[in-house]
């Protein structure tokens, strides 16, 4: 049984003290609120499967295949357990054992894929390859390796790739959230509405486990997009078309992006600003800022000053 291969992680699994610090910032846990979806929960499941306490099931496999690889679990770990490395191995073993389940990995619409291979070149974890089928080239995603950063979804010229729905980061879900935000009534003293697209690997104010008493009253909505390399200029324009007065993008500092994608974001934003100018829209309505993982205060400041600036510009009309 391939599960035997996981025995090599026994020592690491023993060092896990099960404190639970790993789930403080876990995107998946925040979505489901079940402890079995936390990194700790998954390590406990891996442990149970290795020692024979529990048998692998589709449910377990599905959980293991749900991860955005932000590695905030590892950053928070009391015992420095290589959480994602272990769980990636568990993925492989489960797949080898026939658990071919759906997880967070990027989906390819084969009808739309033109086989150009751009996705292959932007994929840092080397999870994308081209395969030949009846003389046609088709992009495929390796479920084990895909870290669901979303960078390829923007790079794909034929719109054939998308992050899965159900994790609040697919284009459809993000658009719906913006739409809902646009329709919300703000308190009288609030300013123009702005949106901040935040990177899952950097920092975002939604990193909270509890519900604060006065939430969502501000004029800014922060949305986690996964890597900012997946922020499509079209997404920004769409937000403005919906009635958002300004879009702030908060990315990891240059040189520190896990997916080498923030350079792409930078180029895209520069181009977009030029385009906005031609459309007679103030380019200041779009801003890209660099925020490191521990710079919570900076992000807060950036959001406040950006909102301030945008409120001076007033509402926007996009034809």
């Amino acid at each position: 049984m391939a599960l035997e291969n996981l025995k090599k992680w026994e020592k690491e699994l023993n060092t896990c003290i099960r404190c639970g610090y790993c789930y403080e910032n876990c995107h998946i846990f925040k979505l489901t609120n079940w402890e079995s979806d936390t990194p700790r929960g998954k390590l406990i499941l891996a442990y149970g499967m290795i020692n024979g306490d529990i048998e692998p099931t589709e449910d377990i496999a599905k959980k293991i295949f749900e991860c955005f690889y932000c590695r905030l679990c590892e950053a928070g770990c009391s015992a420095k357990v290589p959480v994602t490395e272990i769980l990636t191995d568990v993925r492989q073993v489960l797949l080898d054992d026939g658990f071919d389940v759906e997880g967070t990995h990027v989906e390819v619409d084969e009808d739309k894929c033109c086989g150009c291979g751009i996705c292959v070149s932007v994929c840092k974890p080397e999870a994308t390859t081209l395969k030949e089928e009846n003389g046609d080239k088709l992009a495929t995603v390796d479920k084990v390796k895909c870290e669901a950063c979303g960078v390829c979804t923007v790079a794909c010229p034929s719109g054939a790739r998308e992050l899965k729905e159900g994790y609040e980061v697919s284009r459809k879900e993000l658009d719906a959230k913006i739409d809902k935000f646009v329709k919300e009534k703000l308190p009288d003293d609030a300013k123009e509405k702005t949106v901040t697209f935040c990177c899952n690997w950097s920092v975002f104010p939604g990193l909270r486990l509890s519900v604060l008493p006065f939430e969502d009253k501000e004029s800014n909505k922060t949305l986690v997009t996964m890597c900012t390399g997946r922020v499509d200029p079209e997404m920004i324009v769409q937000a403005m078309r919906d009635g958002i007065a300004g879009v702030l993008i908060s990315a990891c500092p240059l040189g520190e992006c896990e997916h080498d994608a923030n350079y792409k974001t930078l180029r895209r934003v520069l181009l977009l600003k030029k385009m906005l100018q031609q459309l007679n829209i103030e380019p200041e309505r779009v801003k890209l800022t660099w925020v490191d993982t521990n710079e919570v205060a900076k992000l807060e400041k950036e959001i406040n000053s950006f909102s301030e600036e945008v409120s001076k510009l007033g509402t926007v009309t996009v034809e």
């Binding site: 023993n14 003290i17 404190c19 406990i44 499941l45 015992a79 486990l209 509890s210 604060l212």
Partner: protein, 479 residues
């Protein structure tokens, strides 16, 4: 178990009974593991009342669970039944800055509460080290305390009032909103530290204090552990009011140096002390007095700072100690056993020495560190968890340490609570308390459905109380 009924109470999406769920919810940060029959996530007080009524009539155990970060098996469902995951009830209901209190649901995470209080210049200070995930319900369940408890006290000092669902489903509103109340039994205080055995906390009213304006940290090195111990006792006796007073022994120092390359001087002991407040002159006075005391006992002051960045740097060795201990030696695990005794201040150094002695005798590695300002001495047993002989040694070491602690007038647990792993020693040390607690438990939970077989009802051998989480080789497992 009528899972369909539970689903009708809280909604099907908040009930799970698949094996994978049960396996995960059977563990916490202790060495124990046991499985519930079902996990339920209530969203309201009424739902909890209905669950309790049902469980009480069918004699089904209910184990309330916060973050599951307890270190002695608090939330491990020894008798199966229902695990009540309280994390869905995570609203900070209100913050009353003028009245200096707040009301929260039990699933609110400590750090989140403090983040929400910060803009008001307020804080909730008894936070344990695990505050980033620990819930207020769990902290009350454990009467948690932490690094700043030397000045600010434990959870019990901050719980003004509680709403509690009793075993039969009745909802009671206990305590007050005011700082003081002299009216009858302090029943809300009884719930603090009850480890989920007397009722389910559904709302808490907590006392708040102003955030200090300044903090100053200083570090002293000692060539002899005894000198550090005497400094600690003298600091407390001098009337100084440190907001933190921490000790690290030589093993702890070695651990952070070898595993994290911290570069701390390899002395016999380090103490970290901090003072906080509104006025710098007052803080300076406290810090200088403490430094003088350390110097008198041959301590060398190596750093002092008000600056947050510098303080964080100096303290990082202590802060990262846990990670270092977990990685102490290849193949070793850091097990939570005999982990938080409290002893009289004058016995601090002796206790640390004794721990080393006992560890040597029984062939395990133990370190001594902790919130010495509150009299708490932390240890961890470091060993290869797959080695049966080491477990035998660990068992004897635990017993010997608790015997010593009892002899010098200390307590089994100063911080993390009793639950399963500490119950045998604690029961032995506190027979009178057992009698009274048993009567109270009978009165409030006659059917014994709330977190049964914990505290005074826990098995007499922690090692066989549940399967031990570590051993992958089943032949070696105890349970």
């Amino acid at each position: 178990m009528d899972v369909a009924r539970l689903k009708s109470i809280v909604g099907a999406q908040h009930v799970r009974d698949a094996i994978d769920e049960l396996y995960v919810y059977g563990a916490d940060a202790s060495v124990h593991q046991a499985m519930p029959q079902v996990v339920v996530r209530p969203g309201s007080i009424d739902e909890i009342r209905e669950i309790a009524r049902y469980a009480n009539s069918e004699l089904i155990p209910i184990v309330a669970r916060g973050a599951g970060s307890g270190m002695s098996g608090h939330a491990v469902p020894l008798k199966g039944g229902i695990v009540l995951d309280m994390k869905r009830m995570n609203r900070i209901i209100e913050i009353k800055p003028d009245d200096m209190y707040c009301k929260v649901e039990p699933g609110v995470v400590d750090d989140d509460l403090n983040r929400a209080l910060k803009p008001y210049g307020l804080s909730y200070p008894p936070s344990p080290a695990s505050s980033r995930i620990a819930t207020i319900g769990g902290e009350i369940g454990n009467n948690a305390s932490g690094i700043r408890s030397v000045k600010y006290g434990a959870t019990r000092d901050y719980v003004l009032g509680l709403k509690v669902v009793l075993a039969d489903g009745e909802l009671v509103d206990l305590g007050a909103r005011t700082r003081v109340e002299a009216a009858g039994y302090q029943v809300h205080r009884l719930i603090v530290g009850s480890e989920g055995t007397l009722g389910i906390i559904v709302e808490a009213t907590l006392k708040l204090v102003p955030l200090p304006k300044f903090r100053c940290l200083s570090v002293a090195m000692f060539d002899k552990l005894e000198d550090a111990g005497e400094s600690i006792a003298d600091i407390i006796a001098s009337g100084c009011e440190p907001s933190m007073l921490e000790l690290m022994d030589d093993i702890a120092i070695k651990a952070v140096n070898t595993t994290l390359n911290m570069g701390l001087p390899e002395v016999d002991a380090i103490i970290f002390f901090e003072a906080d407040g509104k006025v710098k002159e007052a803080i300076d006075y406290e810090i200088t007095t403490m430094q003088e005391i350390c110097k008198k006992h041959n301590g060398q002051i190596t750093a002092t700072s008000y600056d947050l960045k510098e303080r964080t740097k100096y303290f990082s060795g202590r802060k990262k100690l846990f990670a270092a201990l977990a990685k102490y030696k290849d193949g070793y695990a850091c097990t939570s056993l005999a982990d938080d005794m409290a002893v009289p201040y004058t016995k601090m150094a002796e206790c640390a020495r004794k721990i080393h002695e006992i560890a040597d005798k029984y062939g395990v590695i133990m370190t001594a560190y902790g919130h010495c300002g509150s009299g708490v001495m932390h240890t961890k047993i470091l060993m290869n968890p797959n080695d049966k002989e080491k477990w035998e040694g660990a068992k004897k070491a635990v017993e010997a340490i608790y015997d010593y602690v009892d002899k010098v007038g200390g307590v089994t647990s100063g911080e993390h609570g009793i639950a399963l792993s500490k119950a045998p020693a604690w029961k032995k040390a506190r027979p009178d308390l057992m009698k009274v607690m048993t009567k109270i438990k009978k009165a409030l939970d006659p059917n014994n459905i709330l977190n049964p077989d914990k505290l005074m009802d826990a098995p007499d051998d922690w090692y066989t109380a549940t399967p031990i989480r570590y051993m992958i080789d089943k032949e070696k497992t105890a349970g």
